[in-house]
C-alpha cells in the first residue's frame, strides 16, 4: 500500500533518468531511523500481510454488509483519480515529456509498473475494442483474489475502482469498470471490463444472469448494450 509522502529516494536523486528501477532493492528505500519505506516515486509504502487484506475486507463486510463491494470500489476510484494526478507528475519528471505526448501503451505500462513492484500483480491490456468504447484488462496475481482464494465470486472491487478512477481522470470522461472473471471464481487470472456506464451496467446484468467473461465479450462485440 502506498500513501503520498515527501520522502526523498536517494538512489533516484543520484540517477533521476534511470528507468529500469523496479528491482526490489532499488525501488524501495528503507529508512531505518524513521521506520518508513519510500518507493522510487516518493510514495510512502506500508508492507502488509494477507491477514491484513482479509481483516480489511471482512471488517468492512461486518460494518456495512453487502455494500462493502461498493465501498471498496469507491475507495479504488478515489485512489485511481489521485494516482493519475501523481503519475502525471512523476512521468513528466522521469521522461521529460508530458503524458499526452507519449505512446499510449508505453504510458500505461509505465503507470502500472510501480503497482507490479508493490505486489499488486502484473497486467495485460487488450485495446482491440477501444474504438467501440470499451477495453479489457487481464490481471495476473491479484493481491486480493490470491489472498481470499476460491470463494466462487469476483472479489477485486478495489482494482475495478482503481482502473475506473485512473482512466476517468486520464481521458477526462466518466468511465466505469467491472470484474467479469476472477481468480477467486476458480479462473487462472482476473479480467476487467472498462467502459461507459451503460456498457458496464449491461455487463453486470449479464454477469448476474450467469454469463461468462467470454459471453460478455461476444455480446459487447456484437453490439448488444442491454439484455
Amino acid at each position: 500500500m502506498d500513501t503520498p509522502s515527501v520522502s526523498a529516494h536517494k538512489l533516484r536523486q543520484q540517477h533521476p533518468q534511470k528507468h529500469s528501477h523496479y528491482k526490489f532493492s532499488e525501488f524501495f528505500q528503507f529508512n531505518a531511523t524513521e521506520g518508513t519505506i519510500a518507493d522510487w516515486n516518493g510514495s510512502r509504502n506500508i508492507i502488509t500481510s494477507e491477514h491484513f487484506i482479509i481483516g480489511l475486507l471482512e471488517g468492512l463486510e461486518e460494518e456495512v454488509g453487502a455494500a462493502s463491494a461498493a465501498v471498496m470500489y469507491s475507495i479504488g476510484v478515489e485512489w485511481g483519480k489521485q494516482d493519475s494526478l501523481f503519475f502525471d507528475q512523476w512521468f513528466e519528471r522521469e521522461y521529460n515529456i508530458r503524458p499526452q505526448q507519449a505512446n499510449l501503451m508505453f504510458l500505461l505500462e509505465t503507470w502500472w509498473w510501480p503497482f507490479t513492484a508493490q505486489g499488486w500483480g502484473r497486467w495485460e491490456i487488450d485495446m482491440t475494442d477501444r474504438q467501440q468504447g470499451f477495453m479489457f484488462i487481464n490481471l495476473f496475481d491479484s493481491a486480493v483474489a490470491r489472498t481470499l482464494g476460491d470463494v466462487g465470486k469476483p472479489v477485486c472491487y478495489l482494482y475495478a475502482g482503481l482502473y475506473a478512477g485512473f482512466f476517468t481522470e486520464m481521458v477526462r470522461k466518466q468511465l466505469s469498470c467491472i470484474e467479469i472473471q476472477c481468480y477467486s471464481m476458480g479462473e487462472t487470472y482476473c479480467k476487467f471490463l472498462l467502459g461507459a456506464k451503460d456498457r458496464i451496467d449491461a455487463a453486470a446484468f449479464w454477469l448476474n444472469e450467469g454469463a461468462t467473461a467470454s459471453d460478455i465479450e461476444n455480446r459487447l462485440r456484437a453490439g448488444y448494450t442491454s439484455s
Binding site: 528507468h19 529500469s20 523496479y22 528491482k23 526490489f24 532499488e26 505512446n103 501503451m105 508505453f106 500505461l108 505500462e109 509498473w113 502484473r122
Partner: protein
C-alpha cells in the same frame, strides 16, 4: 553471484556456511578470469558489435528498423546498447537472475507496448552469432546463454 551472495547471507544467519553452500563461490572463481576478459572485450567492441548486428538486420529484415515511414534505427540502437551492457554486467558478476529483475521483466513489457518483440527476437539471435567473432569459445559459452535469455524474454 550477487543473488547467491544475498541468499547466502540470509540463510547462514549466525553460523558458518557449509561447503555445499560455498560451492557457487568456487564455481565463480574458476570462471572469473574468463568473465573479466569477455567483459573487457565486449566493452571495447561494443560499437562494432552493434553496427554488425544493425547491418545484418538492415540486410535481412529492414522493416524492423522502420515504423511506417519513420526510421527508428537510432531508438533500436539505444535499446540494444542498453541490453548489451546489462547482459555483459550480468555475465561479469554471474547474475542472470538479477538481470531479469533489474531489466528484462520491465523491458519486456515496454517492448510489448511498442510491439517490438519480433525485432528483439531477431536482434538477440543475430547478436549471439556476432559476439562469437569477438570472444573465445569458452567466453562465448558464458555470454551467449545470457543473450539467449534476453531473446527469450524480450522476443515474446
Amino acid at each position: 553471484m550477487l543473488s547467491h551472495i544475498e541468499t547466502l547471507i540470509r540463510e547462514v544467519d549466525g553460523r558458518y556456511a557449509t561447503d555445499n553452500e560455498l560451492l557457487f563461490m568456487q564455481n565463480y572463481l574458476q570462471t572469473a578470469r574468463l568473465r573479466f576478459n569477455a567483459y573487457q572485450k565486449i566493452q571495447k567492441s561494443e560499437r562494432a558489435i552493434i553496427q554488425q548486428v544493425k547491418q545484418k538486420l538492415k540486410a535481412t529484415e529492414p522493416q524492423l528498423l522502420r515504423r511506417g515511414k519513420a526510421d527508428i534505427s537510432a531508438k533500436w540502437q539505444r535499446d540494444t546498447v542498453r541490453v548489451l551492457r546489462f547482459c555483459a554486467h550480468a555475465m561479469l558478476v554471474a547474475d542472470e537472475e538479477g538481470l531479469e529483475e533489474s531489466l528484462l521483466l520491465w523491458f519486456q513489457s515496454i517492448m510489448r507496448a511498442f510491439k517490438a518483440q519480433q525485432s528483439c527476437d531477431i536482434t538477440y539471435k543475430t547478436m549471439q552469432d556476432v559476439v562469437r567473432q569477438y570472444l573465445t569459445p569458452q567466453e562465448a559459452e558464458l555470454f551467449c546463454p545470457i543473450l539467449a535469455r534476453a531473446r527469450r524474454l524480450l522476443g515474446q
